[in-house]
C-alpha cells in the first residue's frame, strides 16, 4: 500500500474514531445505542456553517459554539428520549427506538431550515496547505483531523480515568444501583455522559464537514453504520477500542479499495462486524460481559 494510501487510511480512520468516541461513551454507560448521534453530528455541522457563512463568524468561534450546542442537544436527548425509559425492562429496544424518533425529528427540522441540497463552508474558512509526507500529499486540515481525534481521545481518557466525574460515569456504567448507593448522583453523571458524547459527535460533524466540504441533512448516513462497526470492533464502552478500531477500519477499508476495488469496501466492513459479533462480541478491548443473555 502506497504512502498516499496510508495517509488516506489514517485520515479516514481519524474521522471514524472521532465519531465513535462519543458513540461508545453512551453505549458503554447506558447499554443503549443512541441512533440520534449521527443527527447531532449533522446539526452541529449546520450550526457551524450558519455561523460562518451567515453570521460571518470566525471558525475558531463557530467550532466551539457548535460543539457546545451539540452537547446541549445531547442533554435534550437524554431528558426527552432516554431518561423516561430508564428502569423499563425492554430499555435497550425502547431506547433505540426513541433515539431513532429523535433522529427523524432532527433530520426533518434540518430539512425544513436548510433544505435538501448539499452546502459547503465558504472557501476562505480555513486556509489550507498541501504537505508532502511519506511520498503522498496531505492537507493541513487532514493532519488537523488526525491530530484532533488523538487529542480528543487523550482528553476524554483523562476525563474518564482521572477526574471525579469520570469515576462517577464509570461507576454508573458498571451498575447504576450500586453507584447510587455509593452516593453518586446518577442522573447528573448520565447527563454529563450525554453532554460529552454529543459534544464529541458535534466536533466530528464540523470537522467532517470541513474536510469533505459537504453539509447536508443526510450527511450522517455514510458514517452511522460504520461508526457502529467501529464501536463493536473496538469493544463497547472502550475509548481505546474506539480509537484503535477507528484507525484500523479506516486503514483496512483503504487497503480493500486499493486491492479489491470500491465495491467490496462496505461489504468487508459489515462482514468483519458480523464475524466479530459471532466470534468475540466484546470486541478487541471490551470487558467480558457479566450479564449473559
Amino acid at each position: 500500500m502506497s504512502g498516499q494510501q496510508v495517509i488516506n487510511g489514517l485520515f479516514l480512520g481519524g474521522i471514524y474514531a472521532l465519531f465513535a468516541l462519543g458513540y461508545t461513551l453512551v453505549f458503554g454507560v447506558l447499554d443503549i445505542l443512541n441512533l440520534a448521534h449521527a443527527a447531532v453530528f449533522m446539526l452541529a455541522a449546520f450550526v457551524a456553517l450558519t455561523l460562518v457563512s451567515a453570521a460571518h463568524a470566525n471558525l475558531l468561534v463557530a467550532l466551539p459554539v457548535a460543539v457546545v450546542f451539540a452537547g446541549l442537544l445531547g442533554l435534550v436527548l437524554e431528558r426527552i428520549a432516554f431518561r423516561p425509559l430508564r428502569g423499563r425492562s425492554d430499555s435497550n429496544i425502547s431506547g433505540l427506538i426513541s433515539s431513532l424518533a429523535m433522529a427523524a425529528i432532527f433530520e426533518a427540522i434540518a430539512h425544513e431550515i436548510w433544505g435538501p441540497n448539499t452546502a459547503r463552508f465558504p472557501f476562505d474558512t480555513l486556509p489550507d496547505q498541501q504537505l508532502q509526507i511519506l511520498g503522498g500529499v496531505v492537507s493541513r486540515l487532514q493532519l488537523t483531523i488526525i491530530g484532533v481525534s488523538l487529542g480528543m481521545f487523550l482528553v476524554l481518557w483523562w476525563l474518564v480515568q482521572r477526574t471525579r466525574l469520570g469515576r462517577e460515569i464509570r461507576a454508573v456504567a458498571e451498575s447504576p444501583r450500586a453507584a447510587r448507593v455509593l452516593g453518586v448522583n446518577v442522573d447528573r453523571a448520565i447527563a454529563w455522559a450525554f453532554f460529552i458524547s454529543s459534544a464529541l459527535g458535534g466536533a466530528a460533524g464540523v470537522l467532517f464537514a470541513l474536510s469533505f466540504n459537504s453539509v447536508s441533512p443526510d450527511m450522517g448516513r455514510g458514517v452511522e453504520l460504520k461508526g457502529l462497526a467501529v464501536i463493536i470492533l473496538g469493544g463497547m464502552g472502550s475509548m481505546t477500542g474506539a480509537v484503535v478500531a477507528g484507525f484500523a477500519l479506516g486503514l483496512t477499508e483503504v487497503l480493500v479499495v486499493s486491492h479489491l476495488g470500491g465495491s467490496y469496501r462496505d461489504a468487508v466492513s459489515f462482514a468483519a462486524l458480523f464475524l466479530i459479533l459471532v466470534l468475540r462480541p466484546r470486541g478487541l478491548f471490551g470487558a467480558p460481559s457479566l450479564r449473559e443473555a
Binding site: Q5, N8, A119, R120, S139, N213, S216, D218
Partner: protein, 372 residues
C-alpha cells in the same frame, strides 16, 4: 331589505362581458416528484421548473381558453408512495398528464399503472435506457438517456484532447449513475480507449481518496466519472487535491451549478457530457435562465428538463386543437416537432424517447461554457 336591483343589473352586465373568459378550461398536470428522501434535492429543483413553466404558459396566453394547473405530490423517493401518488393523480385529481417520477426505479413501478389507465406520462429525469418508454404508448420521455448523450460527448472530447487511456469511477448503488457507467464503458470501448482501472463508490460516501489514489496511480490521460452532484463536487475536489491536473469527464449528474459552488477552483477543466447546454444562446434558453433568475433560482439540469416537460405538454394541447383531455395530449405529443425549449429544438422519436441536440460543456472561469 329591498332587492338591490342596481347592483344586480351591474353584476349581470359584468358577467355578460366576462362571458368568454369564463369559458376557460382548467387542465390539471400532475407531477410525482421526490420532495423528501434521498432524491429530495432533484425533486425540489424539478418543482421550481414546473411551477415556473406553468406560470409562463398561462401568462403568455399561448393556450387560448385553457389554464394549466399543477398538482404536485411527494413520492418520498420510494416506489410505495410513488404508486400511491400516481393512483391519486390518476383517479382522484384526474390529471391530463403526469410529469415524473423523479427516479427511474420508481418509474418502473408507477408507469405501468399510468399505461393501464391510458394516462400520458412525461419522464423528465429518467435516464434508464430500457424499461421506461417501452412500458407502453402512454409513456413519453423528455430526458435524454445517457446513451444519447455520452458517446457523442466522449467522441467530441477525444477528437479535441486526444486521450488514449482512461480511469473510471462510478457510483454503483444508484440506478442513474450505474446506467451512466454502462454507457461510458461501452463508449470508451468503441473509441478504442484503454481503461486502466475502475473503481466504485456508494452514494452516502464522502471520502473518495482511496479510490482516486488507486485510479490515479495507473497514470491515465483522463478521469471518467459517473456520479450524482452530491458526490461529484467531492470527487473533483479530492482528485485535484491528490495532484490530478488532467481532464475529468462527467455525465448528466455533473450538470449543476453546485459543482462550481462546492468544488470551487478544482472544477476548472471539468468536462460535462450533458443533455442541457446551459450556455446555449437560444432564445428559449436565455428566456428560461432569466425567468428562473427572477424567481431567485440558479437552475440545474433537472429544473430545465422539468420546465421543458411542461412546455411539451402545452404544445401537445395546442397541437390537439387546444383540447386538454388525456387522449388529446397523447395525440398532441406525436405532433411535437422542433419545439423551442431550453434544451434546444425538441421532438419525440418514434419510440417516444426525447430528441434534441445534447451538449458538451467545460467549466471555465467558474462557469459552464460550450466546448469550442
Amino acid at each position: 331589505m329591498r332587492f338591490p336591483v342596481r347592483s344586480f343589473l351591474a353584476a349581470l352586465a359584468a358577467l355578460a362581458f366576462a362571458g368568454p373568459a369564463l369559458a376557460q378550461q382548467t387542465v390539471r398536470i400532475g407531477a410525482a416528484l421526490s420532495m423528501t428522501g434521498p432524491a429530495a434535492a432533484y425533486g425540489a429543483n424539478q418543482k421550481t421548473g414546473i411551477l415556473a413553466a406553468i406560470d409562463e404558459v398561462n401568462g403568455s396566453g399561448a393556450l387560448k381558453g385553457v389554464k394549466l394547473e399543477a398538482v404536485i405530490e411527494d413520492d418520498a423517493s420510494t416506489k410505495e408512495q410513488g404508486i400511491a401518488v400516481f393512483q391519486k393523480l390518476i383517479n382522484q385529481s384526474k390529471v391530463a398528464a403526469i410529469i415524473g417520477p423523479t427516479l427511474s426505479n420508481t418509474a418502473f413501478a408507477t408507469n405501468p399503472l399510468a399505461q393501464a389507465a391510458k394516462v400520458p406520462v412525461v419522464a423528465v429525469s429518467n435516464t434508464a435506457p430500457k424499461g421506461i418508454t417501452d412500458i407502453g404508448d402512454s409513456i413519453w420521455r423528455v430526458s435524454l438517456t445517457e446513451g444519447q448523450v455520452i458517446p457523442g460527448a466522449l467522441k467530441t472530447l477525444q477528437a479535441k484532447l486526444g486521450f488514449k487511456k482512461a480511469a473510471v469511477l462510478y457510483g454503483n448503488d444508484d440506478a442513474f449513475t450505474k446506467a451512466g457507467y454502462d454507457v461510458m464503458k461501452a463508449a470508451l470501448a468503441d473509441l478504442k480507449i484503454q481503461v486502466l482501472g475502475e473503481q466504485t463508490f456508494a452514494k452516502p460516501d464522502r471520502d473518495y481518496n482511496a479510490q482516486l489514489t488507486s485510479l490515479l496511480g495507473t497514470k491515465p490521460d483522463i478521469l471518467v466519472v459517473s456520479a450524482l452532484i452530491e458526490n461529484a463536487s467531492g470527487i473533483v475536489a479530492q482528485a485535484r487535491q491528490l495532484g490530478w491536473k488532467g481532464p475529468i469527464f462527467g455525465g448528466n449528474g455533473f450538470n449543476n451549478p453546485v459543482l462550481m459552488k462546492n468544488a470551487g477552483p478544482a472544477a476548472e477543466g471539468v468536462y460535462v457530457g450533458t443533455a442541457w447546454n446551459r450556455a446555449s444562446t437560444d432564445e428559449a434558453n436565455t428566456k428560461f435562465l432569466a425567468l428562473m433568475k427572477s424567481r431567485g433560482v440558479d437552475p440545474d439540469q433537472f429544473c430545465a428538463q422539468a420546465y421543458t416537460g411542461v412546455l411539451v405538454i402545452a404544445e401537445a394541447i395546442k397541437q390537439a386543437g387546444t383540447k386538454g383531455g388525456r387522449d388529446d395530449v397523447k395525440a398532441g405529443f406525436a405532433k411535437v416537432k422542433g419545439l423551442a425549449t431550453p434544451l434546444g429544438k425538441f421532438s419525440f422519436l418514434p419510440n417516444r424517447d426525447g430528441d434534441h441536440t445534447p451538449a458538451i460543456q467545460v467549466v471555465k472561469d467558474g462557469k459552464f461554457q460550450i466546448l469550442q
